[in-house]
Amino acid sequence: MKELVVISGKGGTGKTSLLAAFACLAKNAAICDADVDAADLHLILNPQVRQRQDFVSGHSAAIDPAKCTRCGLCRELCQWQAIDEDFVVDAIGCEGCGVCYYFCPEKAIAFPPSTCGEWFLSDTRFGPMAHARLGLAEENSGKLVTLIRQEGKKLAEVNGLGLLLTDGPPGIGCPVIASMGGASAVLIVAEPTVSGRHDMERVVQLSDFFKIPAMVCVNKFDINLDQTHAIEAYARERRVTVMGRIPFDPAFTEAMVQAQTIFEYDGIAPGARALKTIWNRLTWELGI
């Protein structure tokens, strides 16, 4: 089974709109939304949830005021200043390291597992989907990304599907690293702006670092042709396959408002035609 992960470095370059459109074209794919922090794919794919599970990961400290002698050791040891003068743990500041719990001389600190989100297995009109929601202000997004990708792979296997299409998070940190490991390839959706180019370069370096084959396409390429050329030149220099260009097309936003992919909304829109070409190349590159 192949897994294609769509990433971008910079947010808002069109990852999710493109991935939803690919899901519409793919005949043989499971779908995974690994942008667990701000998942949006479900807004287009409208998944019918079949199974829901809590995501329990890590622990969080809580001080029992009845046992606490206010000796102050925990406050001294906490590297995150997550314990205030009244010996109350700030749940948002707590990193879950357990140092306070371990060293408290009064055993006044509990350290229960925390539920940091939930995940779902669903059906969509384009195939089965694994997706998740990290709780607000929660940690462990990388672990949830890893988990949801594993579930996505299982869905593909169980259903005899040869491809997993994964929508990745923005950035280059923990969730992005978790979304790339072991993928067949990443498709970087770049935007022809100084920011888009800068961020694309960093995410190319990241895929190099983890030795994941990378491909790039430029979305809204006609906003700035100089930047489009620069992005493609950088890609070639770094042996990243250039997959093509997509014009700025308001049909993407109009489709999104209707909760549709661009192919359902207007299959002959310029953006849709460009995407079809890129998809054909993708299937060839991935050998599917």
Binding site: I92, I172, E191, V257
Partner: protein
């Protein structure tokens, strides 16, 4: 006063708003780019960088001559960043380490000392009167919050500090918003924009910080973001229409107020509106207590 410019969804125009706001203000102003995974503010501000500093996180170094392989370090570590193998060796995994210091303290033999893992760099400089600081996460480094907190240490009391925050709603954004005076949420009137805005508002409310909205590309999409704002009593402090000239200027790294100087008044009005909201919230809180 510290204002964090955040969004939930990426690519809504945080950096555009943060940089243009910062250059319009006079007096003691700082811009801290806390989107350390993908910092972009410098591309628009083009500051002269005067100082570069490497930021590290503390990680364990094990002296195998002193280690008795008792396993206490592996037991206390919640992040599987130190493992004892077969009673014969200890493997620290520095990239997993959260620098809690637990293993150092728990080791009965004093066999663990502090080493360092590079998180990235902090660069400081100026653009005319504006002080500029940003962090750049090392490519391959997973943990951005410690670097973000380090960038925030540059905030000076008395200054107006504008923070360009990362996208999302989890730990990096929290690190860029916690304890600030005001959060300006930049959104766009699309279903994705609205969905991620509701998450961002949820996170801001958990932190108990007053906030307001900027709607970018305000004439695209639909009316649902405005309906939501009205329902939730979230003030819309500024709207920026979609304008291909703005998009193209941004793509070249130009500031909106450079290309269209009339926008300077609007960004100053935005700042006034933020001050007004803050005064209002303070009065409300005073009345409530």
């Amino acid at each position: 006063m510290i204002i964090s410019v955040a969004s939930g969804k990426g690519g809504t125009g945080k950096t555009t708003v943060a940089t243009n706001l910062a250059v319009c203000l006079s007096g003691d102003v700082q811009l801290l780019d806390c989107d350390v995974e993908e910092p972009n503010a410098h591309l628009f501000l083009r500051p002269a960088i005067q100082h570069v500093e490497t930021v590290t996180a503390s990680v364990p170094l094990v002296d195998l001559d002193k280690c008795t392989f008792c396993g206490n370090c592996a037991e206390i570590c919640q992040f599987k960043a130190i493992v004892v193998l077969g009673g014969a060796t200890v493997l620290p995994f520095h990239e997993l380490c959260h620098s809690c210091g637990g293993c150092l303290r728990v080791c009965p033999e004093g066999a663990i000392r502090e080493g360092a893992r590079e998180l990235g760099v902090i660069e400081r400089g100026r653009r005319d009167g504006l002080e500029f600081v940003h962090g750049r996460l090392r490519v391959g480094e997973a943990m951005s919050p410690p670097l973000i907190r380090k960038v925030r240490e540059a905030a000076r009391p008395g200054a107006v500090t504008v923070i360009d925050a990362p996208p999302g709603t989890s730990c990096p954004v929290i690190a860029a918003m916690k304890g600030v005076d005001f959060v300006l949420l930049v959104t766009e009137p699309t279903p994705f924009g609205l969905h991620d805005l509701t998450l961002a508002v949820g996170a801001v409310r958990i932190l108990g910080i007053p906030c307001g909205l900027v709607i970018n590309r305000a004439d695209m999409g639909d009316a649902r973001v405005r309906d939501y704002a009205a329902r939730e009593d979230l003030p819309i402090l500024m709207e920026i229409p979609f304008d291909r000239r703005i998009a193209e200027a941004c793509s070249r790294g130009e500031l909106l107020v450079e290309v269209m100087p009339a926008w300077k008044e609007r960004f100053l009005a935005l700042f006034k509106a933020i001050e007004g909201r803050l005064a209002h919230v303070r009065a409300e809180r005073k009345a409530a207590s």
